[in-house]
């Protein structure tokens, strides 16, 4: 196997404190990025001169010598962090995010920083300022990240670069962030494994905030096993993040081979278009009309795989599913509008000069923010404004309670919930960019997990007729990441979807 194809497990076995091997793997990845990133555009910041030249420069640890690529919204000491926004061009953080410190303590190093939707606002990577049409310096030919399986298609988002670099084998693994599906949706669309941990499992310190009650950092990997390895390193309480959980971190690899015979897998009818099982009456079925036929077929096949492996399949209902997107676009934009107030030309990145301070704010924010960022800031400002707060923001918080209760009830009957990750495979570049609601609906199956705070993982489960990857989502109880890895690893071991790689 070529070295650049290695996941974390193989990289670890190969490096084994051998400096020649460490350098050989690094060289292979640098060459690979040089060849494929011209097409994929996953990396916004990559320079081989920034890479360590010897294993001695790294700490020893479980990831000794392993390169990790990072979504460009995680602060990296001395390394520009832009959130793919014009307003953060030139911002060089003076400190490392906690996840970066943890990676470095475990012996890993930063390989490159990845493209994303601007401030993680989007589901296609197209709102990135590295996309020519959004670039303040009018680099019209520049392109945001493309799907490695077919470069006419979007990679998903917002962590599109983090998903694409792993799928294109120009990274061993990467980190992304997920506020409404931003890890799981691109993982599904690019055919890799992506996890959004339980809210509070991974420190948000140094992650540029979008929706503070929703955001989580999580791993993108080539296998479920690798995902467990990487979460093990970045999880845990952090005194620097007051919302990080005191819950002990499980040993994720200890239970990964346990199989699924003792698991009850819930299938929520609201996530499907047709009858889930033959014995169900037609009228019971809430037709989810946005669900692509190929996606539905692959998910049904996955359910069969689990049945054959001995899992108990249970019909469940999550009755408030259809309100999730609406609730999310109130709460998420409200939180975003306050978090983005700090970008005003004074402390970070871009400043557009003006005669007085107030005018400087207005001009900096006008030139610095792209369309989708402005849309969300304005919407968030509106739902929080006097006179509308109760009708929108408070109402949405109440419906959030109902959505959370749906999961509490469902998990009385099952251990894991299985759904499609995204209602469709990757769509074409430009297809949804000017239709915000249709773009928002591509997160319809992933948003609920953020609103409830539960962990959810996307794992490859096949392909569409035109060869684009499809992912299934497994959602679990609070802090049950070990169970998700156990269920996903069992599926992966019984199938070969994860072994397929795009031809680039």
């Amino acid at each position: 196997m070529e070295l650049f194809k290695y996941g974390i497990k193989q990289a670890r076995e190969f490096i084994q404190a051998n400096n020649e091997h460490f350098l050989a793997l690094q060289r292979a990845l640098v060459e690979r990025a040089g060849t494929v990133d011209k097409k994929v555009n996953a990396y916004v910041s990559f320079s081989s001169s920034k890479l360590p030249t010897s294993l001695n420069q790294l700490s020893g640890g479980p990831l000794h010598g392993v390169p990790v690529s990072l979504k460009d919204n995680m602060c990296t000491d001395g390394w520009e962090t832009t959130c793919a926004s014009n307003i953060l061009q030139g911002f060089i953080p003076p400190y490392d995010a906690t996840v970066i410190s943890k990676l470095k303590d475990a012996g890993a190093y930063i390989f490159a920083k990845c493209d994303m939707d601007e401030f993680a606002f989007g589901s296609s990577c197209e709102t990135s300022c590295y996309n020519g049409r959004n670039n303040r310096k009018k680099k019209a030919n520049a392109s945001a990240t493309r799907n490695p399986w077919n470069v006419d298609y979007i990679p998903g988002g917002s962590s599109g670069g983090s998903a694409a670099c792993v799928a294109a084998d120009e990274a061993v693994c990467s980190l992304g962030s997920d506020t409404g599906g931003s890890i799981r949706q691109p993982a599904a669309l690019c055919g890799v494994v992506g996890l959004k941990p339980t809210y509070g499992r991974v420190s948000r310190y140094g992650l540029v905030a979008f929706g503070s009650s929703l955001d989580q950092i999580g791993p993108f990997t080539k296998t479920v096993y690798d995902n467990a390895l990487l979460l093990q390193v970045i999880a845990g309480h952090d005194p620097k993040d007051s919302t990080s959980a005191h819950e002990p971190v499980d040993d994720y690899l200890a239970t990964i081979n346990k199989g699924v015979k003792d698991l009850r897998i819930g299938i929520p009818k609201e996530y499907f278009r047709f009858k889930i099982r033959e014995d169900m009456p037609e009228k019971e079925l809430m037709g989810n009309e946005g669900l692509d036929y190929d996606v539905e077929l692959r998910i049904r096949e996955a359910i069969k795989v689990y049945q054959n492996l001995g899992a108990k399949i249970v019909d469940i209902s999550l009755p408030h599913t259809k309100y999730a997107v609406a609730v999310y676009y109130i709460i998420g934009t409200a939180e975003a509008s306050s978090n983005l107030a700090r970008f005003d030309g004074v402390q970070y990145g871009l400043r557009v000069y003006a005669d007085n301070l107030r005018e400087m704010y207005f001009k900096t924010r006008d030139e610095g923010f792209g369309d989708e960022a402005k849309r969300r800031i304005l919407l968030g400002t509106f739902v929080l404004s006097s006179g509308y707060y109760d009708a929108y923001y408070k109402k949405a918080q109440k419906v959030r309670t109902l959505i959370k209760q749906d999961f509490d009830n469902a998990f009385q009957q099952c251990d894991v919930i299985l759904t499609p990750t995204s209602p469709t495979p990757a769509f074409k570049i430009g297809e949804k960019l000017d239709d915000p609601i249709s773009m928002y609906l591509s997160d319809i199956f992933t948003i609920s997990a953020n609103l409830a705070g539960i962990p959810a993982l996307s794992v490859p489960c096949g392909f569409s007729k035109n060869g684009l990857p499809i992912g299934m989502q497994l959602m679990g109880k609070y802090f049950s990441e070990a169970t998700l890895f156990q269920a996903a690893h069992t599926f992966e071991s019984a199938t070969d979807h994860h072994t397929k790689r795009p031809a680039l």
Binding site: S242, A354, L357, R365, F382, K398, P436
Partner: protein, 98 residues
């Protein structure tokens, strides 16, 4: 749904061009129409969720810590600072003082 895009832009401190105002107003109207579907639900007796986990305020002593980022390092990355690099520099805030 009626709202004043100009007033919102003022609150959000964003300058918007004329065409931009029109386009964003249109988008906002559509999005608000979509999110208003939550009005179908009766929620009088439901408590709002602002945060999913039971969390408490976290306090610590206000003291200089060894792992703190130095002020120097922060000042170095500002968009603009005074010549000696020890202050944030911004345009004039108070009118009429030379």
């Amino acid at each position: 749904m009626k709202f004043d895009i100009e007033a919102l832009a003022q609150l959000a401190r964003i300058e918007l061009g004329h065409k931009e105002k029109e386009r964003l107003s249109g988008d906002l109207v559509n999005i608000l129409k979509y999110v208003e579907q939550i009005d179908e639900l009766k929620t009088d007796a439901i408590e709002p969720t602002s945060h999913v986990l039971a969390i408490e305020n976290v306090f610590r002593e206000d003291e200089i810590r060894e792992d703190s980022v130095s002020a120097r390092k922060v000042l170095d990355v500002l968009p603009d600072s005074s010549k000696d690099g020890s202050f944030f520099r911004v345009p004039k805030v108070i009118e009429g003082i030379e």
